[in-house]
């Protein structure tokens, strides 16, 4: 992606006296993880393309507290939450789009009780809405006819019952959507949730991501599509484990779409 991204912070908007339509909550992975940063840029590319006025918090953003909460550190979670809510409410934020189902779930479901009430959507939902309303056109392009399988992120799917938005977006690419046996509400975790991302797994006979990638690869897909930076890491590692990087790519739904936007 050689094109230049247009990104403004909330502070810059405030200084110029304007208000953005939506806040893009980038998330820690999206800000710091090299692979996830590409997803972040793909989301920005889409936002730029349709001309949505959006802002990021930039250095004012801090971890939502999701991993702390899932690990059982409710104190740290609520500290993070209350600090973030102060920042968000300070900018009078109304609508948030996230690139991560964990941020999405936390901001949407767990912040209201602590005083943070926002309309929160996941980036796959935003893209789906943009396509529905005709603001964004995506066509087959480079993926036309290819076999793609979608891995449901737990915190988007089971956690919040969002199953169709990512699928509708993928299908707009004229591809063949192959479903794994364990999909939608029966989807199988990538193994990263509940703060597992940050520690060795307990003893077992297999890693969760290996089990999941094996299931995906059994379909021989050209792309395993994800909607979560953690799933991205786990599935990418899984594909590497099976030495299938040549045949199968792991791409976020936003990347699939961004690659088919013609400037």
């Amino acid at each position: 992606m050689a094109i230049e991204l247009k990104v403004k912070t909330m502070a810059e908007y405030l200084a110029s006296g304007e208000t953005p339509e939506v806040l893009f909550w980038v998330g820690c992975a999206g800000s710091f993880d090299d692979r996830a940063k590409k997803i972040t840029k793909a989301i920005v590319k889409i936002l730029n393309h349709v001309g949505i006025k959006f802002a990021v918090l930039g250095t004012e953003e801090a971890c939502t507290g999701d991993p702390a909460k899932r690990a059982g550190n409710e104190f740290l979670f609520q500290m993070q939450a209350m600090n973030n809510i102060t920042v968000l409410n300070g900018y009078n934020v109304k609508k948030i789009v996230t690139g991560c189902p964990h941020c999405f779930n936390t901001l949407k479901n767990e912040y209201p009780q602590l005083g943070g009430n926002y309309e929160v959507i996941h980036h796959t939902q935003l893209v789906q809405q943009l396509i529905e309303s005709g603001k964004l056109k995506v066509e087959g392009g480079s993926f036309k006819g290819k076999k793609i399988t979608f891995h449901d992120p737990c915190y988007l799917g089971r956690g919040n019952d969002v199953y169709e938005a990512p699928r509708e977006v993928i299908q707009k690419l004229d591809i063949e959507l192959a479903e794994m046996k364990r999909s939608r509400s029966k989807g199988f975790c990538c193994g990263a949730g509940g703060a597992q991302m940050f520690k060795e797994a307990e003893k077992g006979n297999k890693e969760v991501n290996i089990e999941r990638t094996e299931e995906a690869l059994a379909l021989n897909p050209e792309v395993i599509a994800t909607g979560c930076p953690f799933c991205m890491t786990m599935m990418t590692d899984g594909v590497k484990h099976f030495n299938k990087e040549q045949q199968t790519k792991v791409l976020d739904v936003a990347e699939l779409v961004a690659q088919n936007i013609n400037e």
Binding site: M1, T59, G72, E74, E110, K186, G193, A201, E202, N205
Partner: protein, 435 residues
């Protein structure tokens, strides 16, 4: 009134009383939990209960057991109408007291026979599935001992109860055809008439004997069954209803924000904030050390668990060989709750026994959970094992500082850098400038 009626009435009274005592104990145990408010969305709650408990909607994801379960469930519920007749007959010394309904009665009896047959069939297949076919969720080691015998006892006694019903009806038919005593022509017997030829050589007295023995066996069996429930996973036939009524209606990804913590955090961030006084009857605790720290709904969950293992068979940790099994979490919670209940029964009040949930559930199990909610999704009676896991993690982390080292590192990073990794907050927007 004959001696038989008096014995019957005493038996009935005794069985009801015993059940009431045990049922009250269960309610008392459930109330040991913390308060939780489920008084909202009444209509949605009734709907959920109707769909999930009455309509068995969540069973349908696995068709074979679903059909068999429907046989047993519908059969069991409806055959109890026949038990009503038996209660009247037993108390008044009548025989087939509802037969005045004529054709409708004949229809009912034949309908019940078909149901009884389906129940028998269902239970037989269930027994085979459990003991002969190697279905993983029935061979797991957490079922060793009592849980496995419990299931087999239930299934076998249901088959015996139904067999007694058939044999009783068969003997009755032969007696009816002989015009013996008060055995009037009543009922229609699509299943048990296959047994009658085998009984035709038996004397009138012998048949009366068979009919009576089966009658008593059936009714005593049912009373026994009722009293067996509170000791068994079979309690779910009653508790599934309240348990689904009090379902969590919020998104599965949404965890509780414990108020005790909110107050502490607010006090830390805002020195003018004074937290409301704590409930003096409940120990102030972060997370769950023992059953007292769980909510009554989580304890009701424990009593409602049918030990079916659907949660465990969908759990990614369990499926990849880790120690965690959400079913075991529920069974352990119930075992500990029963232990606390017995402690109260013996001592008049709870005497500290130095134990807690941690004596049943190990840290290794707790740390293996990915919080994926698959267990919650799968449970046919809307149990939430994940919430107990998280409450126990909270206790480990906030009261015992016993998180795995790597998690401590992650937590420190969040505290210091606002991100789970060691990056500087100043670099958060770097991605926008990189190409």
């Amino acid at each position: 009134m004959g001696i038989a009626n008096i014995i019957f009435i005493l038996l009935l009274g005794g069985a009801t009383a015993w059940f009431t005592i045990n049922f009250k104990k269960v309610i008392r145990n459930i109330r040991l939990g913390r308060d939780a408010d489920f008084s909202d969305n009444k209509s949605q709650r009734w709907l959920t209960m109707t769909r999930v408990a009455l309509g068995q909607s969540k069973m349908l994801t696995r068709p074979t057991p679903a059909i068999l379960h429907i046989f047993v469930y519908v059969g069991f519920v409806l055959i109890n109408i026949e038990v009503l007749e038996m209660l009247v007959d037993g108390a008044l010394g009548t025989h087939r007291s509802l037969s005045f309904m004529g054709d409708f009665y004949n229809f009912l009896i034949s309908f019940f026979e078909v149901l009884a047959f389906l129940v028998t069939f269902g239970c037989a297949v269930f027994l085979i599935r459990r003991n002969v076919l190697h279905i993983k969720r029935f061979t797991d080691k957490e079922l060793d001992g009592w849980p496995r015998s419990d299931a087999n006892i239930i299934l076998t006694s249901e088959i015996l109860l139904m067999s007694a019903l058939f044999l009783m009806n068969a003997a009755d038919q032969v007696l009816q055809s002989r015009g013996y005593g008060h055995y009037i022509q009543a009922g229609s017997f699509p299943i048990s008439h296959y047994i009658t030829p085998m009984l035709s050589g038996i004397s009138d007295d012998g048949l009366v004997m068979i009919e009576r023995v089966c009658w008593w066996f059936h009714i005593i069996g049912i009373l026994g069954f009722l009293n067996y429930l509170p000791y068994s996973k079979h309690f779910h036939i009653l508790l599934a209803f309240p348990n689904t009524y009090f379902s969590n209606l919020k998104p599965k990804g949404q965890f509780t924000n414990p108020e005790s913590v909110t107050n502490e955090v607010k006090a830390m961030l805002d020195t003018t904030f004074t937290p409301p006084p704590a409930d003096p009857n409940k120990p102030m605790r972060f997370g769950a050390k023992d059953v007292y720290d769980l909510t009554w709904k989580q304890l009701l969950d424990a009593y409602s668990c049918t030990e079916c293992g659907r949660c465990t068979s969908s759990c990614p940790a369990n499926q990849t060989g880790k120690l965690l099994s959400p079913r075991k979490i529920m069974m352990d919670t119930r075992d500990r709750l029963e232990e606390v209940g017995k402690n109260i029964d013996t001592n008049g009040e709870f005497r500290d026994d130095g134990k807690g949930l941690g004596n049943y559930i190990s840290n290794e199990e707790l740390w293996a959970c990915t919080s994926c909610s698959a267990c919650v999704q799968e449970c046919p009676v809307n149990i939430d094992p994940l919430s107990i896991i998280i409450d126990m993690r909270r206790y480990l982390v906030m009261e015992q500082s016993a998180a795995p080292q790597e998690l401590n590192l992650m937590l420190t990073n969040i505290e210091n850098n606002g991100a789970p990794w060691q990056f500087s907050p100043a670099d958060r927007l770097n991605w926008a400038k990189e190409n």
